[in-house]
């Protein structure tokens, strides 16, 4: 396909988007009828469709003209949570105040995003002068990272309900969207407690008791069996139980960032986020290691940091393009003396990566390698702590962790 054709198609796509946005479904039907009547009514002597054409043309023209008279003023704001999760509805709402001096009826509003993605509109109640309302924004973040909100678009249909007038109110805000998470089974790497240089002051006991520690809000990725149903019923939101893992272990969670941007990389980040959210709730330390502009190591657990901070970091991870896999390899080997076990999330299983896993095991670090690949990636030897995780079937793959 030639670039010219691409450009023409892109222009056509933009035009169709604009038509969908501006015209109501009834208006779109009128537009189609207008086109059909224009085609049928070319010869005014041969049919009467030209009369439909002029009628519909007058109808659409008047509808569009009416939109000029939509003069309203609003003040928009947001009620936003601190975090969202990719693929999960974001519980946020729009607050809108009518700062004009007229009653506004039949309005609808939708958030406007920086990246131009369309969000379904929500109907607003009647707003008298000075009145305010709050409606659910209906945002569904599809990607992790910063979700930037540009403002609010308030729409009002014309008296026929065919064409909509818009009023755009600027209200900039942003929310950090955490990666998608999956349930991760309890990890039991055959490592031992290791001497932690400098120690962790919060470490108070050693051993495994399965003792109940606290309740906390459900986070996507928590296993269902941890849900405390009675508390849910009482609080009106899902609550999970936390148990104390009394072994003081330190795990490394190594994320391979040496691959192209795309679904495989995103799935690898999601798998890492699933471990970050799941393992640190137990009483252990977790080092998140990856290479970006430099080699990063973030530690969480036992009072050093919350799992949320790891998720925040993972929300912003990007593929590394100027370094090699060796950087990550060295970073983990340098810490091998202090880590009890390592979970490696790899973007493929080539010679270099398989050699690295062998090396880790050779120096006595129990390792679980999760190889995230596309559905049509070539097969490799699985088993013995090496698992294949296919894009789109990550939860299924993670459930196989022994």
């Amino acid at each position: 396909m030639t670039p010219k054709l691409w450009r023409a198609l892109a222009r056509l796509g933009r035009l169709l988007d604009l038509v969908r946005l501006r015209f109501t479904p009834a208006g779109q039907l009128i537009l189609v009828c207008l086109a059909v009547s224009a085609a049928l009514g070319v010869d005014t002597e041969r049919g009467m469709a030209y009369q439909s054409f002029t009628f519909l043309l007058a109808l659409i023209s008047l509808s569009m003209l009416c939109s000029v008279f939509f003069r309203a003023r609003f003040e928009a704001g947001w009620r936003l949570p601190r975090f969202g999760t990719a693929g999960q509805p974001l519980p946020c709402s729009i607050t809108l105040r009518n700062t004009g001096n007229r009653l506004q009826r039949g309005l609808s509003a939708a958030p406007e995003l920086e990246d131009g993605e369309a969000v379904p509109e929500r109907a607003l109640p009647d707003l008298s002068a000075g009145a305010a309302c709050e409606v659910e924004a209906g945002l569904l973040p599809r990607r992790r990272g910063k979700l930037r909100l540009k403002g609010v678009r308030v729409a009002k249909p014309d008296p026929f309900g065919l064409f909509r007038a818009f009023r755009r109110e600027r209200a900039e805000a942003s929310v950090l969207v955490l990666p998608r998470r999956y349930p991760v089974p309890g990890l039991s790497l055959p490592g031992t407690r290791r001497y932690q240089h400098g120690g962790v002051a919060a470490a108070s006991s050693v051993g495994e008791s399965g003792e109940f520690v606290s309740m906390r809000d459900y986070r996507p990725g928590d296993p269902l069996r941890k849900i405390h149903w009675r508390s849910w019923a009482k609080a009106g939101r899902p609550i999970v139980k936390e148990y104390q893992d009394e072994y003081f272990v330190r795990h490394a969670l190594a994320l391979d960032t040496f691959g192209p941007e795309g679904p495989v990389f995103e799935e690898a980040v999601s798998v890492a986020a699933s471990f970050a959210a799941g393992l640190t709730t137990q009483d252990s330390l977790l080092d998140l290691l990856f290479v970006g502009s430099r080699t990063y190591c973030f530690t969480a657990g036992r009072g050093l940091g919350s799992p949320d901070s790891l998720l925040e970091v993972l929300a912003c991870v990007e593929p590394c393009r100027d370094k090699t896999f060796e950087e990550l390899q060295h970073a983990i080997i340098r810490r091998s003396a202090s880590i009890s076990g390592c979970v490696c999330i790899l973007l493929g299983f080539d010679e270099e990566r398989s050699g690295f896993i062998r090396q880790l095991r050779a120096i006595g670090v129990p390792t679980l390698a999760l190889v995230v690949v596309g559905p049509d990636a070539p097969a490799f030897e699985e088993g013995n702590g090496i698992l294949r995780i296919e894009v789109g079937r990550a939860a299924e793959g993670l459930a196989k962790i022994p």
């Binding site: 002029t54 009628f55 009106g236």
Partner: protein, 654 residues
């Protein structure tokens, strides 16, 4: 949202009335509207919907093919457009009787079916408004030229628009806008209709000349006056003429006439086309003059449309099945929606003419040529002669000192080519002679027009008919003498020999090929072809029936469900009729609505302080607690508590 009651019935009945299918329309209206009173619904799976719409599409396709093969393509298309609501009726009825009251969009788009398989969400469409719109638009093809159609547009359109009107829209403003729309639309279509002539004259005339190279542009003739080089070098046969009744064929066949000469071109002014009345199957009445002679003409019509070459005084045309035939005041006749090969009979009267009476424009000589023609007229002493003698004098003058030549040796730089022809070279092709004759006759006070068409002069033994080649295209003058328009061809008779001398050596071979092609076209479009197509229909009908049968088997078992059951299943089993919902709805209009994730008790706590007094707030809290029990407590509420909930909600609403 489905169309309001009776809208589809009204649209269908209007369509039936317009296209003359009132009985089927009444059945459609009855079937679709009865769904509102029938308590049963079809449990249609997605696949069933796909198959049912496929059956409709297959029936439409088969019928289209049958019509295409049996009648003219253009007429077939128009007829299918008229009948479209018939084929869509089962789909509309399917929606009316389906439980969902909407259809899967995949029933109409194959691409969506594929997307469903790939796991995309289903899209449902409401076809009720679409069906009403199809009925109205298809009714337009019936071309019933009364005010009924526009009135139906306003009434049915207004009805549909009222049903989708936003709640915030004021009824008075809405009505005013609709009235304004109706008035604007009326003005628009009145203007559009009157503009049709202008559009035809410019855009369509231009397109026509591009598309139908074989025919003539009936509005303009760009003559080759002043061109350099060889002209009319094409040998291929474009017409076949068979005289009937043992008489010789007419020497000239007219295509078009022009009355305005301007800058080397002839134009036809005020030459809008008017419909010619049909007389029986394939018969057309051009004029009421008696027509003792007849001739058969065969011509290929690209796309079934073109200008017909007719003898002067053509009165009737027979054996020409076409969608329409139109003529203009200058005698040009064009056909639309005709067969690929028009093999028709023309009845004509050599003494009559199709053209309108002369007007002052038929005497106009361009000022640039005024002096030259005045001088020639004076030289020939035309002013002192009777009209008939003047015409003869002009003909003699051209016959005396002028010669025919196809090749123009050089283009005059400073003088007009027509002036050059008259005063210097005295040699040219037919367009020079015709133009000069027309202008000289006008100078002499005889109304005259410029005619183009074909000269019938070559008889083919192979075809046993007169054949007319492209090079036989000719131009001549039409003079109004003795109360009628007469052909006046002043081009020297040697022109046909001059043309023939330049014929290609392979002409006989090409003629043979042309004869074979003509035979094939005749077999397809002639009476034998008609038989062939009819036989094909009998093959297609069982094929269509088989197709329906095959799809029918795929429909599987359809189940009927009682509507009541569906209604019950569609709402929560317990507590769905709680009166607190009404309170919540009322408060939502005051921007105090419940958030989607908010339990009623939490909502009551939140909005309580915003209520008018403390008592209302505490009542709302108490009602929310009762509501929660009514909705979720398996034991439900006692009669007294239910009454409390109801009365409490009513008090709050007041």
């Amino acid at each position: 949202m489905n169309a309001p009651p009776l809208l589809i019935a009204a649209a269908a009945l209007f369509w039936g009335r317009q296209v003359g299918l009132l009985a089927p329309a009444a059945v459609i209206a009855l079937v679709i509207e009865s769904a509102r009173f029938v308590p049963w619904r079809l449990d249609l799976s997605r696949e069933n919907q796909y198959r049912a719409s496929d059956i409709c599409a297959a029936l439409f396709g088969v019928t289209s093919l049958v019509l295409y093969l049996t009648i003219e393509p253009l007429r077939a298309v128009m007829l299918m457009l008229q009948w479209l609501p018939l084929f869509l009726a089962p789909v509309a009825a399917m929606q009316a009787y389906s439980a969902a009251r909407k259809l899967d969009a995949g029933a109409f788009f194959w691409t969506l079916r594929k997307r469903h398989k790939e796991g995309y969400a289903r899209r449902l469409v409401d076809v009720s408004y679409i069906y009403a719109a199809v009925c109205v638009l298809c009714a337009s093809n019936a071309n019933v030229r009364t005010g009924e159609y526009y009135l139906a547009n306003i009434l049915l359109g207004g009805w549909a628009l009222w049903s989708v009107r936003p709640k915030s829209s004021s009824a008075a403003v809405w009505a005013l806008l609709l009235a304004l729309t109706a008035a604007l639309g009326y003005q628009g279509h009145q203007r559009l209709n009157s503009m049709q002539a202008v559009v035809e004259k410019t855009a369509l005339g231009f397109v026509y000349s591009l598309m139908h190279a074989g025919g003539k542009d009936p509005f303009q003739s760009r003559t080759a006056i002043g061109s350099i080089g060889a002209l009319k070098r094409f040998d291929h046969i474009i017409l076949r003429v068979r005289p009937e009744g043992g008489k010789p064929p007419p020497a000239l066949l007219h295509n078009a006439c022009y009355d305005l000469y301007k800058e080397r071109s002839w134009f036809a002014r005020e030459a809008e086309f008017q419909a010619v009345p049909a007389v029986g199957a394939g018969g057309w009445k051009l004029s009421s003059a008696k027509s003792p002679e007849s001739v058969s003409v065969a011509i290929s019509l690209a796309g079934g449309a073109g200008v017909l070459p007719l003898p002067a005084g053509a009165a009737r045309i027979q054996r020409l099945p076409a969608d329409s035939l139109r003529k203009n005041r200058l005698g040009a006749v064009k056909v639309e929606g005709g067969p690929g090969l028009a093999d028709f009979v023309v009845r004509f009267n050599r003494k009559a003419s199709l053209e309108s009476a002369p007007v002052s424009a038929d005497l106009a000589v361009p000022p640039a040529h005024g002096k030259t023609f005045a001088r020639i007229a004076a030289e020939l002493q035309l002013a002192s002669k009777k009209p008939r003698e003047r015409a003869d004098a002009v003909a003699r003058w051209f016959a005396r000192g002028f010669t025919y030549s196809l090749f123009q040796g050089g283009r005059p730089l400073f003088s007009d080519p027509l002036e050059n022809f008259l005063t210097k070279t005295r040699s040219g092709h037919c367009e020079y002679f015709a133009s000069a004759t027309v202008l000289l006759l006008r100078e002499a006070g005889i109304p005259a027009r410029y005619a183009t068409g074909f000269s019938v002069q070559e008889f083919s033994r192979l075809e046993n008919a007169y054949i007319v080649r492209q090079r036989h295209a000719h131009a001549w003058a039409r003079a109004f003498v003795d109360g009628g328009w007469r052909d006046m061809d002043t081009t020297p008779p040697s022109w046909s020999d001059a043309e023939k001398s330049r014929a290609a050596s392979l002409e006989p071979l090409r003629d043979f090929g042309s004869w074979l092609k003509f035979g094939a076209l005749r077999a397809l479009w002639g009476s034998a072809g008609e038989r062939l197509r009819r036989q094909l229909v009998w093959l297609l009908l069982p094929a269509g029936l088989w197709l329906v049968w095959k799809f029918r088997k795929g429909l599987g078992r359809l189940t009927l469900n009682r509507l009541r059951g569906i209604k019950d299943a569609a709402v929560p089993v317990q507590g769905w009729d709680s009166d607190l919902y009404k309170v919540e709805k009322r408060l939502r209009a005051k921007a105090l609505g419940r958030r989607p994730w908010e339990p009623f008790t939490a909502w009551a706590r939140r909005v309580g302080p915003s209520l008018r007094d403390e008592a209302a707030a505490s009542r709302l809290k108490a009602l929310a607690a009762l509501h929660d029990r009514y909705r979720f407590d398996p034991a439900g509420l006692g009669a007294g508590e239910r009454e409390t909930l109801k009365n409490g909600a009513e008090t709050l609403l007041r």
